[in-house]
Amino acid sequence: MKLTVDIRKKFKDFELCVDFEAGNGVFGLLGPSGCGKSLTLRCIAGIERPDSGIIRLDDKVLFDSSAGIDLSPQKRRVGYLFQSYALFPNMTLEQNISASPCGKKNCSEYISLFYLNGLEKHYPHELSGGQKQRAALARMLAAEPEMVMLDEPFSSLDRDLRLRLEGKIAEISRDFGGTVLFVSHDMDEVFRLSDKVAVIENGRIVDTAPKRELFEKPNTVASARLTGCMNISSLVCDEQGVFASDWGITLPCGHKAGYGYVGCRAQNFEICSEKNGADVFECEIVRITENMFSYTVFFRNKGYISAGEGHTLVFETDKDTWHKLDKEKLFLRPVHEKLFYMVK
């Protein structure tokens, strides 16, 4: 199964312009709130109408502005799990699940599949957050959709419940077999659940890649930031090598002509005993934040100030390692294999 999306929609002060293809498996859309993720899903579902473009599911054209095709949501058969679940408040759980044309015959099957037995006669306001989510999933799947979209499915749940239900969603996505679109602003969630990820910023897709590739080596500065990389520097290439101008170190790597930026994740530094190379930071610690199981250390290359914000770097380390270190003489080197270079 393949979903092809290429749509544009203009608002007064926002323009959505997305273009991607999603095959079988979970396709994650990652982006900050208000970037157009949910709007994209609404356009695919047929609740919102794009100004122009095309949406296709295999050979079935859901929307094509040039051919004047715009299928109703009912005919699209795209399952949509809403952020707030949108269970009908005037119906019991059982009535909710059997509300769709296919739901009647599937109702009892999906009630037991989602462990909702015994709750059939309960109204949505009598259900817990997790039960609501399972009920909404059951209702969506009982309608026999051809593809499924999940819009921030965990945002209204407690952390504890969230992790537990993630497993259930992963299982359902695997069993479903078709295309699953998963939208979230939480990069950890997207990493855990998706096979392939597209990063959206300001209504545009800035990067698309299989998840490991995307998180290890993002292709653009925007996607590096949105996947949680805080250390990004501009590059200046000359005969001596590649100079990271925000950080004030020279990277002994091959010619990097054409690349404008370099990134290094907070976990990817090695600790050195002295400044034994042009690529080593002599750290001046700016601030330390204590996390539950680690420390986040904000530091600068001693004596080096650049114009941008980029001269303060972030280093994350476990507590034991940090306690053993001499904080007055801290030398860090970015692990070269884990550095990534970006054009823009």
Binding site: I47, A86, A99
Partner: protein
């Protein structure tokens, strides 16, 4: 005391309320779905609220009179609108329709569109979205509209007297009875009907208040 005005008032208002309810809810639904036409229909359907009842009576006479197409068409089926209970119903209908329409539209607009979106994505048809989601969720907000429609229909005077006339025992409603009694100097009879109308109006309004209070508490 001849209680026929009470019976005629109740009969005309109840029939009018039923028709107003069905047509008002249906119209409000259609306008809610098709947002483009909203301004136009809102204006047209709210017009009877501000027009003088005599103007409404005049227009109804033109519409249903013997010389009009509609009037002639109806009379073929033995339905006579002028100087009959039907006329009283038509007058009551016209003046109370805006109340039901406005309340129903407000109630439909209060229904969170996310339920409608969800219903569409699971493949529910327009009609079943209306009967199973929109109407049941909006229903509590319409109860007040129904009561007020009835009360307004009951109080109609100007349009009623123009189209239905003032035939005792046939078209004379309570509000018309008050007028007739005063004209003939029967103050006592007039004050009796005034008392009855006051009671019914008071009960209507207080029941609407109590119902809204109950809804407000339930929401919390």
């Amino acid at each position: 005391m001849d209680i026929s005005p009470l019976i005629i008032s109740l009969e005309a208002s109840l029939i009018a309320t039923v028709i107003v309810f069905v047509s008002g809810v249906f119209t409000a639904w259609a306008v809610t779905i098709d947002k483009k036409s909203k301004v136009f229909f809102d204006t047209v359907f709210s017009l009877p609220m501000v027009l003088p009842p005599t103007v409404i009576g005049f227009l109804l006479l033109i519409l249903f009179g013997k010389n009009s197409f509609v009037g002639e068409f109806l009379s073929r089926f033995g339905i006579n609108m002028v100087f009959s209970l039907n006329g009283a119903v038509a007058a009551a209908f016209t003046v109370s329709f805006p109340i039901m329409y406005t309340t129903a539209r407000g109630a439909f607009e209060q229904v969170d569109s996310i339920y409608i979106d969800a219903a569409k994505t699971i493949g529910m048809s327009r009609l079943s979205i209306f009967t199973r989601i929109r109407l049941p969720i909006a229903w509590p907000g319409m109860i007040a509209g129904i009561v007020l429609t009835f009360a307004r229909a009951m109080g109609e005077f100007g349009a009623t007297i123009m189209i239905a006339g003032n035939l005792p025992g046939r078209t004379q409603t309570m509000s018309v009875a008050v007028y007739t009694a005063m004209q003939s100097g029967n103050r006592e009879l007039a004050s009796r009907w005034v008392a009855v109308i006051l009671c019914i109006s008071f009960l209507s309004i207080i029941s609407v208040r109590l119902w809204n209070e109950y809804l407000g508490r339930k929401k919390k």
